[in-house]
């Protein structure tokens, strides 16, 4: 009886060694553009889908195109109104949209979130005494926005039994500051369904 216990302990010790040696975390680079959702939370693929839809629609819109043939209109991206219950980095979403629109070469963008850095540099050029006034960049020559891109992100979540159904809707508008008219609008809907099951997958 006692002998068996001794062997049993050795076996347990061996099992522990095995576990410690074999357990591990494998880390890999994945496809950054992958569309395999892990949860119903707002994820990277949702961000990419929304950005792609908005950019494609804005680039292909005849009205917007007419305004951007003579010269590039100057746009400003407003904060997205996040009406979901999640903490979503909506700036990252509008960053993606803005980047793609700038890369298309059809729009000019200004960015008010980095105005403080610009002002700091203007001050350094004028007041530090280091910069040659002749080489300094003149202040007060920047462009102002003619259009504002505004957006809303809404969410409807329903949970019944083992099924969670989350619906996201992103609405974007292009507001003409001169006329106040919304010159363009589009929305992208996404549905994610999670089904809890007892067999792993």
């Amino acid at each position: 009886m006692k002998r068996v216990t001794g062997i049993g302990m050795v076996v347990i010790a061996g099992a522990l060694v095995l576990t410690a040696g074999c357990m591990g975390t494998k880390v890999q680079y994945g496809d950054a553009t992958s569309a395999e959702p892990l949860s119903t939370d707002f994820g990277s693929s949702d961000l990419q889908q929304i950005a792609a839809t908005m950019v494609d629609s804005l680039l292909a819109d005849p009205g917007v195109r007419a305004a951007s043939t003579a010269r590039k209109p100057v746009l400003l991206v407003d904060k997205v109104k996040n009406k979901t219950l999640q903490h979503i980095d909506t700036e990252s979403l509008t960053d993606s949209i803005r980047t793609k629109l700038i890369q298309s070469g059809k729009f000019s963008f200004i960015d008010r979130t980095t105005d403080q850095s610009a002002l700091d540099e203007f001050n350094a050029q004028k007041e530090s005494g280091l910069v040659d006034p002749a080489k300094a960049v003149p202040m007060g020559t920047q462009s102002g926005a003619e259009y504002i891109l505004t957006a809303n992100l809404a969410q409807i979540e329903q949970q019944v039994g083992s099924k969670t159904d989350v619906y996201y809707k992103f609405t974007m508008n292009l507001k003409n500051l001169r006329t106040g008219i919304l010159d363009w609008a589009n929305e992208k809907e996404i549905r994610k369904v999670a089904t809890r099951s007892w067999l792993g997958r």
Partner: protein, 144 residues
């Protein structure tokens, strides 16, 4: 007796799970659709297309029935018509890629996989707009 069968079933389930984790090969291949704008000597341009099937199982379910294009201003707009040959609901994803005159990809790694749900025998179109006027060819990958 019952208990033992349950145990065996559990064991088999765990083994299947582990195999899934450690990974037997999961097919991630699909169909590739290529469209190239070619300009004839008389100035007219037309789209030549090709469909490359790498996954016959997927191709039996999803068929690319049409590839169309138009110009939105100076931007190429491509449209694929997909038909499901399957009675149930199909889930798959597609991704566009855009190429310039020299055959180099424009803004690589920026287009993302987009999920699509096709109900039984449904026909749907998916569209993409070129990221710039220099685009002369596109490629669409479809996989499930």
């Amino acid at each position: 007796m019952h208990r033992r069968i349950k145990g065996m079933a559990l064991g088999a389930g765990v083994a299947a799970c582990l195999a899934g984790v450690s990974g037997c090969i999961q097919k991630t291949s699909g169909t590739e659709v290529v469209g190239v704008m070619t300009t004839a000597p008389d100035g007219t341009s037309e789209l030549s297309r090709a469909v490359i099937v790498n996954n016959t199982k997927l191709a039996r379910h999803i068929q690319v029935v049409d590839v169309r294009h138009e110009y939105a201003g100076d931007l190429l707009k491509a449209s694929l018509t997909l038909t499901s040959k399957y009675e149930g609901t199909l889930q798959f994803q597609y991704k566009f890629a855009w190429f310039n005159d020299a055959g180099l990809e424009v803004n690589p790694d920026t287009d993302a996989w987009t999920p699509v749900v096709l109900h039984g025998n449904e026909t749907r179109t998916v569209q993409g707009v070129a990221p710039g006027p220099e685009v002369k060819a596109f490629k669409v990958n479809i996989r499930n």
